[in-house]
Amino acid sequence: MENVLKRLRDVIKSNMRQYAMLIALIVIMVLFGFLTDGILLKPRNVSKLIYQNSYILILAVGMVLCILTGGNIDLSVGSVVAFISAASAMFSVFWGLPAWLSIILGLLLGLVAGMWQGFWIAYVRIPAFITTLAGMMLFRGINNIILRGETIGLPDLYIQIASGVIPDFLGTGEGLHITTVVIGIVVALIYIVFAITSRISKRRQGFEVPTFQGFIVKIIAISAVINLFTFWLARDDGLPIILIVIAALIGIYTFITTKTVAGRHIYALGGNAKAAELSGINTKKILFLVYANMGLLAALAGIVFAGRLNSASPTAGDKFELEAIAACFIGGASATGGVGTVIGAVIGAFIMGILNNGMSIIGLSIFWMDIIKGLVLLVAVAFDVYSKSRAKKSV
């Protein structure tokens, strides 16, 4: 019994950072809920939050992998966003290709941009900071060459992806968006089935599992949050298409980082590159793939952002890299690598997003917003350093 308690305490301790960020997110939500007289939490604004932050979320998911490999950041993602949005205009407007094809070409082009950077970082061993700083200038320049400094409107499909909602198959089109509610229920049910089967399999293998009461509380709480969330969206226009994309990305990348050999190799590389290499891990390949992947996700973010703006513009993606990097660090990634999670980065991105949105509703000047965001980043990382030094002392 004492052992179980100790184990539980260890689990809480080791997850404290992440829970702390979740708690911070909730506190910030409640705080701005009050400060904005509830506007922040209105269904319309919740949808808006998702649309507004979708591209930063996508970037943060890719960025956290880069950071995991050893504190490497990618400074070029904002410029890749600009590059791909310009390329989208080129494919679909200048060349007149169908929108779906130009989207696929855009994603491939992003992948190539990522491979280009991955090549220099992994195989030529140029520090990621320098390679991506070069990429930051390079891809921004290509954007300007393609667009010649002009802003070009894009086809409808782009706008659909970035700002559209799923059609209401089951509802009347008036009032509540029934399909969204049903999807919420289905997702919650799938989650419950998964949770129960994994618990049973763990038990059968003879591994420790959390107490039954705790387990029930957890699945009820998570199901309730899912349903409340979809219900909220249903009160507005319904489930945004981009939310499905983001949920899929979070799911896929959480799976990759926690369950696959490749994911474990990424953590090992960041934890100790030498030890990883001597354990037979192809560290160059891992580094290359992580940056190639970042290019792909930056391209997706570029397409979404272009759709959101309804156009390709020369200033697209400006400072996105900084927002994405900040999201990862707020979400508990370590600046030296090997520590961090996809979910953490997502929470970090939401914290930044709610701060942005909440402060603009209050009508705070943009200068103050930057100051506050800067301080939040600093405090979050200071908290991390402090809790780590305490953990070290207790050893």
Binding site: Q205, F207, K259, T260, R264, A268, A275, S279, G280
Partner: protein
């Protein structure tokens, strides 16, 4: 004549949350002596010295520190340095890209109004370097000189601060026998001619018995006894007994070897230096290992032992590698480390912390790292298999820890080493190359690791042991290859080999080389 005590530590108790690291420890050091502090890893030696030097400030421990007759309450290292106490840590505190002179006067620059006088710096550095017998230019970079010389720079740095009490933590742990001898002689010289009192923490008991005037033994945070030269009998066995609390009748577990056919063979192996591709590092080396045999690679530090092992292990070291490797009589090509592991070869690094373990990850993740592909399907790790397999090794190798979910960084040296060994046994190799398998771990854990090595041989594996400690090679191996300057210069059976015969072979081969040139 009874010398006065320069240092008295009285009833020192230091607790960390949950652990009592020191429990009323007493230490008396006489002025002008060499005093050795011995004990197993984790016994509290370093903690005690950290209390003395102010790393743990006054108030965080209980008890009294009296230095030169006065009670001291250091709140940081600077204060203890000011009264002439210098602590040279095991991990040297030198800056690789700065020169020897700059390092000697780091934080203590020869300056006026913040502007450094380089003439003074270099002249005084040269004087200090002469004193410690360091023959290098003062403007040589630290990264370009060997560990032995770096150690001397640390001592010169201490001398520059007018040291009266010099504390050295495991000064010879990373040194070969020559450099160790030089260092120990230097300590004796500083001690006799300059009146510097030394406290030396060491695992190498034969060194301690050679140079110290008094030896204090610490075990589990308490003082066991202090042996005084001339009064007590200073014998290795007695010290070991005091350290581990039991008499180690035999430091090496017995094994009757059942040697089979040749399982692993390397022929005409040539490796060039990756930094300087014209320099040959390994020169046409031939060796073989039979199944169930433990083969030793003996040689001085820098002889090319690690380079040989790592170049075989999937070209993890070296350029322009060529030669032939045979396993079970068949020729194999090893292109990468992953390839080597797949072909049943494992290499345990000598550098546990920097190249062996991921300290921020838990025992489970460390053990499974090279074996993940096997522990799942289609690139997805089956955590159930992972947990079950790693748990087996935690029990089998007796890794003292709360669970397999404990971080590797929180384990003691011996248990960390067992984790690295588990990782490689788990990869089910036929050939194991163990590079300094017991470096920096205590006597009890060493015995456990020797037992593991014997078991591996009994299972019919080919085991290669690289070690700087000749007694270890002699105690473990069936056959010994002697390597010097990148070449195999001798092969001896267990019966023929002795510390003297091996050293003789090394020295002879070096002089033959010179004659040949």
């Amino acid at each position: 004549m009874m010398a006065k005590n320069i240092l008295e530590m009285i009833n020192i108790t230091k607790t960390f949350p949950g652990v009592k690291a020191l429990d009323r420890v007493n230490l008396q050091v006489k002025a002008g002596e060499i005093h050795a502090l011995v004990g197993e890893n984790g016994a509290g030696k370093s903690t005690l010295m950290n209390v003395l030097s102010g790393v743990y400030p006054y108030g965080t421990y209980m008890g009294k520190v009296k230095y030169m007759g006065k009670e001291c309450r250091f709140s940081n290292i600077r204060e203890s340095e000011r009264v002439g106490i210098a602590f040279i840590h095991q991990e040297l505190a030198l800056i690789p890209y700065m020169t020897i002179a700059e390092n000697i006067f780091l934080g203590n620059e020869r300056e006026k109004a913040g502007i450094i006088n380089w003439d003074h710096t270099n002249r005084q550095a040269r004087e200090l370097m002469e004193k410690v017998g360091l023959r290098e230019k003062p403007d040589a970079l630290i990264k370009d000189i060997g560990v032995g010389k770096q150690q001397l720079v640390e001592i010169a740095k201490a001398l520059s601060k007018d040291v009266k009490l010099l504390i050295l933590d495991e000064p010879t742990a990373a040194l070969n026998d020559d450099d160790s001898d030089h260092l120990l002689n230097l300590l004796v010289d500083l001690n006799q001619n300059q009146g510097i009192t030394c406290i030396i923490i060491s695992h190498k008991i034969h060194e301690v018995t050679k140079i110290s005037d008094q030896i204090t033994i610490i075990r589990d945070g308490t003082t066991i006894e202090t042996l005084v030269r001339g009064v007590d009998e200073i014998a290795e066995n007695r010290i070991i007994k005091g350290m581990v609390g039991r008499e180690i009748v035999d430091r090496f577990p017995r094994r009757t070897s059942h040697v089979g056919d040749v399982g692993f063979e390397v022929r005409d192996w040539v490796v060039y230096d990756p930094m300087d591709e014209d320099r040959i590092k390994i020169d046409h080396v031939n060796f073989n290992v039979r199944k169930g045999e433990v083969v030793g690679l003996a040689g001085l530090m820098g002889a090319g032992r690690t380079e040989l092992a790592m170049s075989i292990f999937g070209k993890a070291y070296g350029k322009k590698i060529h030669g032939h490797i045979f396993k079970d009589g068949e020729k194999i090509e090893i292109k990468s480390v992953g390839d080597a592991i797949d072909k049943g070869i494992a290499y345990l690094t000598e550098d546990r912390k920097n190249a062996g373990l991921i300290l921020i990850q838990d025992i489970r993740q460390n053990i499974s790292l090279p074996n993940l592909k096997r522990m799942g399907k289609r690139g997805i790790v089956n955590e159930n298999i992972e947990i079950r397999e790693t748990e087996v090794y935690r029990e089998k190798l007796n890794i003292r820890s709360s669970s397999i979910f404990q971080n590797a960084g929180n384990l003691s040296g011996g248990n960390q080493q067992k984790v690295v060994i588990s990782k490689w046994i788990c990869s089910e190799p036929d050939v194991l190359i163990l590079d300094e398998p017991t470096r920096g771990i205590d006597v009890g854990a060493k015995y456990e690791i020797y037992t593991i090595i014997n078991q591996l041989a009994d299972e019919g594996k080919c085991v290669v042991v690289i070690s700087s400690e000749l007694p270890e090679i002699l105690g473990l191996c069936d056959r010994i290859y002697i390597i010097n300057e990148g070449r195999i210069v001798g092969e001896m059976s267990k019966e023929e080999a002795s510390q003297e015969s091996i050293m003789q072979r090394i020295v002879q081969s070096s002089s033959e080389e010179r004659v040949a040139q």
